[in-house]
Every structure is written in C-alpha cells, then in structure tokens.
C-alpha cells in the first residue's frame, strides 16, 4: 500500500473560491491522477487561511510551503516541481515586502508570527465538510465532557471564570448571560447563534462557519445543556451561501453521528439546530430585532427589559451569542477556564479575530491575543501601509465604532481601552487609512450606511442621523460653517442619549470620534474650504504646471469633458467650469505636470 506523503491544503473560503479556488483543486486532482500520484498526495479543501490579500492560498505539507496567488495554470508546475522533484516553486512563494526575500514557511511570515489562533484553530487546517477530520482534532469531546462530567451550573461557572466576553461587539460576559437565561424556568428555551454579520468589511463569523462549522454546533449544544434548552437556531444572512451550505452539511453529519438529536452520546440530553435566514438588514444583528425577524415579524428592535433571557424567541427565555463567541466555548471546556484566562489583558480574556482591510499591505483575517498593540497589528502582521504611505487612522467597530489615530498606536487593544479611546471593539472590522483618506468623508460614509440601515422605529436614529448626514454633506461640498460643527456635536450627543437600541446609540460614534481626533480637518473644510486628502471633489481642482507641461496633448485626449485645451507643444490649460474632477488627466500625464490643488 502506498502511503500519503503530501497533503495539499487549498483554501476554500469565499474569497479564494471567487479567485478560481475550485478550479485549482480540480486541476490538482486531475494532474495528480495523470502522474499516478493520487494515492500519495491528498488534496484537501479547507476554510480560510486568513491571508486573503495573497489568495488563493495553497499550502503544502509536511514542509509547510505556503504558495500565494496561485492560478489554476500554476498547478502543473507545483505538481511537477514540488511534489515530483522536491523543488519549491520560488515565484509563487510569499515575497517579504521589507527585505524582498521569498519566505517559504508560513511560520516565518510576519503575518502569522504574532497571531494566536483559538477561534480559528481549525480554519485552514481541516476539511470543514468532513466531520471525521473535526473529530480527530478533538471535536465534540467538550460536549461529551459537559454531558458526562459536569452539571449545567459547573459549565456556566467555567465559562464565567474564563472571562470570555461577547465577540459581537458590546463585550458582555458570556457566562453571566448564560446564567441569567439558566435561572428562568420555562417549558422551552432557545439557544440562538447570531450569524448576521453586518458591519461593512467584517467577515470573521463567515470564515469560522465556512472553515470550522462544527465548533459552532458543538458550542450551541453545550450552551443548550447549560441553560436547559433543547432547540438551537442559527440566524444567518442569506448572502452567505457557502457558510449556509457548510453549516447544513455539518448539521446533517452531526445528526448522523448522534451528536445532535435525541440521546446525544448515550445520555438523555436532546438538542437540535435549525437555520433561519436573514435578508441582510444591519439592524437584525441587534438581538431583539434578530429575534423578531426569526419570528416572522419586522426586524425592529424593542426596548430592553425584558431581556431575551427572560422573554425572547416566541416569548421564551433565549440566549443569543455571536459566532465567534461560540467558537471559543469548546476549547474553554477542554482546556479549562484557567488556561483561557491567562491569555489576553486584565479585563478582556482570550483572543479576537479582526478583519484587516483598507490601505494596508496584508489584507486578511487575523486572530490576536487581546492586549496586543495597534502598532503590532498594523506594522508586524499587516506589513505596514500600502505604497509606503503614512499611517493616518484606523476605524474599528464599523458603523458603531470610531477612529484611532497615531497617538493610539501603542494602546493595548481590548474592549475597555477601545471605548476609552472613543471607539469600540465591535465585531472586529479594522479599516486602515492613510493620508489619502479624508476623515470627514469617512464619517459621512459610515453615516450614509447607518441612514440606509436605520429601521426607522425611533426618531433620534431615523431623523437625527439624516440631519447629521445633511450637515456632513454640506461640509464636504464646501458650504459648511463653524456653527454646523457645533450642531453636529449637539445632535450626535442627543442621538447617543436617546436612541432606542444599541445601533442607534452608537451610530454617531464615527462622527464624534473624527470630530475629536481630526478637528483640524473639519475646520479646514469649513474655513479654508480645503480637503487635504483631495477626496472631497468640490473642494479641489486640478492644475497644469505650464513649466512642466510639454504640450503632448495626452491629457486633453483622455478628458471626457473636453475641458483641457492648448496648442500642440505648448502648455495646456484646464477649464475648471467644465472639469468634473474625474482625475483621468492626472493619471495620464507622464511628466507630473498636473497637480491637485
């Protein structure tokens, strides 16, 4: 019998799948067959590796060779060189942006060095559609442990002592939440997994469900045992077809193994899970709105109390946790609360998954211990700012969060420090910005999002945010006054104090934090009518330097408005009344004669 000598792990996350990931896997299988190697090499479709910037990723084991940006046509070369001859395909290796050297082993890549993967422990390691791979990594043993060795109270105590806090944003202690639901008596209780990941740019929950769905299923069953529920519901947005598919496969496999259903693992515990699809409304990530949406009502929040732990889904006690929170549970049970509480900072234990995006070299999904500094995330893991530009700010917490600036680079990232800095953890989006980003425009972008997604139930959010957006629009068009800035702050404070739900109360955060951290930039827009980043089109114009211009006419030819005129071989001129500021001439000019003023 021939032995498997090589494992080829191919990323099967949504991102890599979109870049021909499936074709890569098919090519591997076909070419290996052609070479008679199909019994020596195993090709595995895994979940996300996190290094989406360089996807699709193919990792070769046992030598840990990490191939990046693999194209289907590269597969033959990998098979012929790497697998047959034992030679690495150098041009597919990761190129270190600092020292311009190829790195072969992912362990030596800056992106992975400072990471600690707990929630993502199986992502990019196992085939998520094969329960056997999950079981051979110890899957469902935590469930077995709680069912046979622990009382529900002990489970809640363990989770409480671990210090785990909700990863969905607000950071409420998970064990306490479970305890509240457990003490309410009812004929039926529910465990709900909030998989309605709505922050723009956030994709950690999706990646967990795609890469390790069993961890979520197992944790929901553990929670069911702890609070006394027999039914679990996953509220997932319909825009996540791959995550839905993998969850369905995982649920079916778990049922076949008797890990869901009646009499789990020979005990008399019963638990089953159903999926509920959301239509993708941001507000449905708020737990009361989520519950109403599952009941078939409008996805609108209601006032708390009563909390879902008292009266939730169908009026029964309901415990709602986010995907990433659940993914941490099995390992806390297996390794113990003490182990978990040693990781992280004083008040925020464990790790956090962040979706790193924006003007940063290594865009992707990272998991880091709480308490790591922003500097480590941006410069060590993220590989610094794109094109060697200057770091300006990082937006955390999505539309509910705020901006951190250079002065926060050495702040330890945890729930409380982020709130103190005027932002919040949120679900873990991290958008990095450089000097080409206008902070007023950023605040406007997030407010536009909130206005579109506001459910309209309470007036502070529905009308207040709209008025704020109008003021911001006025400022970016050069019509703002100092009085507007004052109004903006007043309005923001009122909305924060009076909106009904968590989303409304946090919606002014992007405005408030940019007002605090980038006051000068607002003043520039209002007083000098200037946008230093060159983003606000009404506040800028293009100019041709008559000394540098050689009169080649290239700019005039690309101008869609015919706004550029001039004699051949003579300096040209832009008519600012006709110019729509598309920037086509600026891109075209080879002589650096066109500048933004």
């Amino acid at each position: 019998m021939t032995k498997i000598k090589t494992h080829v792990l191919c990323c099967g996350g949504t991102g890599c799948k979109a870049s021909a990931g499936d074709e890569i896997i098919n090519n591997f299988n076909a070419i290996l067959k052609e070479k008679g190697l199909e019994n020596e090499v195993q090709v595995i479709r895994t979940g996300c590796f996190g290094f989406c910037e360089k996807g699709p990723i193919v990792k070769m084991l046992p030598d840990n060779t990490f191939y990046t940006q693999v194209k289907p046509s590269d597969v033959r070369k990998i098979v012929e060189e790497h697998i047959v001859k034992g030679r690495k395909v150098t041009d597919l290796l990761y190129l270190d942006p600092e020292n311009k050297q190829h790195v072969s082993d992912s362990k030596h890549m800056g992106f992975y060095k400072k990471q600690l993967r707990i929630a993502l422990r199986n992502c990019g390691f196992i085939n998520p559609e094969d329960i056997d791979e999950c079981i051979s990594r110890g899957g469902y043993e935590a469930l077995g442990k709680v069912l046979t060795e622990m009382t529900p109270e002990q489970v809640i105590d363990e989770v409480t002592r671990s210090g785990l806090r909700g990863r969905g944003g607000a950071g409420f202690p998970t064990g306490v939440k479970w305890g509240l639901c457990a003490k309410n008596k009812a004929d039926q209780k529910y465990v709900v997994c909030n998989a309605d990941e709505g922050d723009p740019g956030a994709f950690m929950d999706r990646s967990i469900m795609e890469g390790d769905p069993h961890s979520v299923i197992e944790a929901m069953a553990i929670c069911g045992y702890a609070i006394g529920a027999t039914k679990g519901l996953v509220y997932i947005r319909a825009e996540y077809p791959l995550a839905i598919h993998r969850l369905q496969v995982a649920i079916t496999q778990a049922r076949e193994y008797g890990l869901l259903g009646q009499g789990i693992l020979g005990t008399d515990f019963e638990f089953d899970i159903e999926l509920r699809y959301g239509a993708g409304a941001f507000v449905c990530g708020e737990e009361t709105a989520l519950i109403h949406s599952m009941e078939g009502q409008r996805g609108e929040p209601t006032f708390k109390p009563p909390f879902p732990a008292v009266s939730g889904y169908l009026g029964k006690p309901t415990n709602v946790n986010n995907v990433e929170t659940f993914a941490n549970i099995p390992i806390i049970i297996t390794k113990g609360a003490e182990w978990f509480s040693k990781i992280g900072s004083e008040k925020s234990k464990g790790t956090k998954v962040f979706a790193l995006a924006g003007q940063i070299n290594n865009v992707g999904l990272i998991e880091v211990p709480m308490g790591i500094t922003l500097r480590d995330i941006i410069y060590e893991i993220g590989g610094g700012i794109k094109n060697g530009r200057e770091f300006k700010a990082v937006q955390t917490g999505g539309p509910s969060g705020g901006c951190l600036t250079a002065k926060h680079l050495d702040t330890a990232i945890d729930y409380d420090n982020l709130v103190a800095a005027g932002s919040m953890m949120g679900s873990g989006g991290m958008v990095v910005m450089d000097e080409t980003s206008c902070m007023v425009a950023i605040a406007k972008f997030y407010l536009e999002f909130t206005c579109e997604e506001s459910c309209g139930k309470c007036s502070p959010c529905r009308i207040g945010n709209k008025r704020m957006l109008e003021i911001l629009d006025k400022i970016t068009k050069g019509n703002g006054t100092m009085h507007d800035l004052e109004e903006l702050r007043n309005l923001a404070t009122v909305i924060k104090d009076t909106a009904l739900c968590g989303l409304g109360q946090t919606s002014p955060n992007p405005v408030l934090s940019t007002l605090d951290n980038f006051w000068d930039e607002y003043v520039e827009h209002v007083v000098d009518k200037k946008c230093r980043a060159g983003v606000c089109k009404q506040l800028m114009h293009y100019e041709i330097d008559p000394v540098k211009c050689i009169g080649c006419g290239a700019c005039a030819r690309v101008c869609p408005q015919n706004a550029i005129s001039g004699e051949k071989k003579m300096a040209h001129y832009i008519d600012n009344l006709k110019c729509i500021k598309c920037g086509a001439c600026y891109e075209k000019c080879k002589f650096g004669a066109i500048s933004v003023k």
């Binding site: 840990n64 034992g86 056997d132 442990k145 008797g258």
Partner: protein
C-alpha cells in the same frame, strides 16, 4: 452511519481517525520532531529512494515513531543514492548514503531510537543557508 454512543466511543474514534491528520499535526511543529529528508531527484528515484521512503514511513509507524518525512531535490551526493538527511531535534543533521530497506531499519532502530551511530554517514561538504 453508526451513532456515537458515548464519550469513550468518541475518543476511540478520535484515536482511530487521528492517523489521517497526523501528517498535518506533525507539520504544525516540525522542529520538535525527527525530520527525515529523502533526496528524490532523478538519480535518487532511479536508485530506489521512493521504495525506501515508503518502507521507512511504514516502519516508523510500526515503531510508533513520530517523524516528519519530506522529499527534497538533489543533495549532490549522486555517488551514494539513495541518500537521506536525518535531523534529530537539538542535533546537527546527518546525511546517510546508499540507504536501502535494511539500512533504513538500522537508522530508525539504532540511530533514532537508541542514539547509536550507524555506518554510511556522508561527511557534509557544504553549508546551506536558511
């Protein structure tokens, strides 16, 4: 599919299934394990490196040794194929030449298990950079 009826059964299943993922688990931290590199260039394969590698992998399983096997390109010792490089944690790597099944067993049982040197070592005549 049969249902898993107890935690003990689940753990037994894990034991049984673990070998499928062993290669992946081992490569998570190869430095802590014995690593054997088999030179698999044309000359190596022609002299039977492939069969020797198969044999060693099976033998290692039999002896319950956790070893990371990798294939590499030509090491330059064409006169002594098949050649393998054995790296025991904390020690310098050693290259053995003319490795057939018998020599392979000897390396596993004597050198790796009992730390006895066996014949057939090729003196390293170059340095490599990482």
């Amino acid at each position: 599919m049969a249902k898993v009826k107890s935690l003990a059964e689940l753990k037994a299943m894990r034991e049984k299934l673990q070998s499928n993922l062993d290669l992946r688990e081992k490569s998570d931290d190869p430095e802590s394990l014995v690593q054997i590199k088999v030179a698999m260039a044309t000359c190596g394969i022609a002299s039977g490196a492939k069969q020797v590698m198969e044999h060693m992998m099976e033998k290692a399983d039999e002896l319950k040794l956790r070893i990371v096997f990798t294939q590499t390109g030509c090491m330059g010792y064409c006169h002594a194929e098949p050649t393998i490089e054995v790296k025991v944690p904390g020690k310098d790597p050693i290259v053995f030449g003319h490795v057939d099944n018998k020599k392979a067993d000897e390396i596993l049982e004597k050198y790796i298990m009992n730390n006895e040197l066996v014949e057939g070592i090729i003196p390293v005549n170059y340095e490599t950079i990482d």
